[in-house]
Symmetry: C2
Subunit: 327 residues, 2 copies
Amino acid sequence: MSDVAAEAGVSPSTVSLFLRRPTAVSAKTGAAIARVIERLGYVPNLMAGGLAAARSRVVGVIVPSMRNAFFAQTVSSLQTLLAQHGFQVMIASADYDDQSELALVQAYLSWSPSALVLTGFHHAVMTRDLLHSAACPVVEMWEHGDHPLDLSVGFSHIEAGRAAARHLVRRGRRQLAFLGARMQEDRRAMQRARGFAEEVAQAGGTVEIVNHPRPASAETAAGLVGMALAKRPGIEGVATSNDTLGLGVLFECARRGIDVPGDLAIIGFGDLEFSGFTNPSLSTIRPFGDVIGEEIARLLLACFETGERPANRAVDTGFVVVERGSS
Amino acid sequence: MSDVAAEAGVSPSTVSLFLRRPTAVSAKTGAAIARVIERLGYVPNLMAGGLAAARSRVVGVIVPSMRNAFFAQTVSSLQTLLAQHGFQVMIASADYDDQSELALVQAYLSWSPSALVLTGFHHAVMTRDLLHSAACPVVEMWEHGDHPLDLSVGFSHIEAGRAAARHLVRRGRRQLAFLGARMQEDRRAMQRARGFAEEVAQAGGTVEIVNHPRPASAETAAGLVGMALAKRPGIEGVATSNDTLGLGVLFECARRGIDVPGDLAIIGFGDLEFSGFTNPSLSTIRPFGDVIGEEIARLLLACFETGERPANRAVDTGFVVVERGSS
DNA sequence: CTGTTAGCGCGTTCAC
DNA sequence: GTGAACGCGCTAACAG
């Protein structure tokens, strides 16, 4: 920076000022500085800047899994929007583990981030404490509830589960099941299962929640179909914890000669890229992952403007039931 | 840190030393420091550390797209392994754009990272210059070639394309096509297409490369099948640029009453989680994305030990042809 | 094995 | 609108 200043014939602090608030410097000086920066290929040292300012233009994001298409959408749109305003997004995966999440929060905090974005409302006690006393806004995403730490952007998984149930009931199905993968770890999937079961019970149907401990895959799905059929031979409809599982159920039904939706109606979750094009096409619930990212970016950028830690605020991004051939 | 030092009755630099090389401090002093750190909940300021040391324990990773399951595997395993050794992985997506990649490299460089991991060998000229003069090792992943910047870990996409062609030819197919999505941007897919075409030509078959400008989806696949059939009605086998597309082709064939593999043999790429469970199961090429991540971690950790920028070294992680029902 | 001494490159007052 | 002084929290020699 002092090289730039020397070349431009000004002092380093003028260069610094120009970099942070270009309008606070005279147009002529600014242009001269910009020219030198370009010519010298000067890149500011963000660590020095962050150290001096006691905060960095980093936004730390923690997702439960990198291999999940849902969060990929959110992270992708969030990153694009924040990058446009000069914020760096750091992404890490907690692998559905509270202690990993804690470690990541500590790691992020040591970068004096501008904001922290976590997935869901559930955290280890120590994590909550750290976040409470954090100097930056905290966003909890992909869930919706009344008491976010600061900000939350997402939707109610209980309601999503209920909606899936209502859809199947409306289609005349009463003997239902919720098929889930890795629900012992995936709290949001578990909430959908709960909502589903509650709604079915209210509608006077029967319901079975079946979990497979391994991650969702077509293989897992085959196992789940077997289990569900063993428990309830007369099953008429199933909801799955995501569309990958739904796809697997679709294939397993084809293999077993079960007619979809005649014998069995299926509704998935997530509306993945293939869901509209399976045969029959897969009914599902679309969660608007990209909107979650956009909304987070919008809220955070507003915070950064004012410089204050925001008041509690929960944004419901909702979801829609996508009715297709499988139900 | 001085608080910790005061509490422990030592000087700040002893605390610093303990944090960086615990064995360089006497066991008794170390234990005392550790206790105070725990009690005070001290978290080191990594920016200050990075500034003083002129490098941070950050590894910057740039992938072409967050929404791609292949890279998710690599990033996931890479992050897990590096985190175990106290390195933070920062992930960003360049969205298949050279200029975005350049901007990301600049952003990362300003963090004085311990290493940079990019995808592929193709970069903007200015990016190459920056990387050349970078103070840290640079890894180019997901491709294999003779002249990496420093390190490369991946496999040859030309060979992968050739292997797909050989597989179909061995199955008695001669009139072939390569169906790709977004290949104008995805250089690796384009290389597979090239390898495929070369091999088919050598085997005396006919070949057509069909590209769809939009990203891979079942919808894209339907369009591609139509285009391929229009150009070559007698087509006997296709390779797709990835399994999502392969899945779409499978569905489209079912819809059109084309028997797979009787009328048309299909081989995909990627071996995604659903590929083994479609109906018929999808033949494909498995790239070992997680191994790429592990290998990168191994090489980088070795570099960090020695502290030197590594000599040119290209690791070929290979791939395997997975022969299933669709071919 | 421990403490002392100098910065790392910049942001942030405050004068001018 | 611009510059000087100071310090952010830590690391890296070195001396002890």
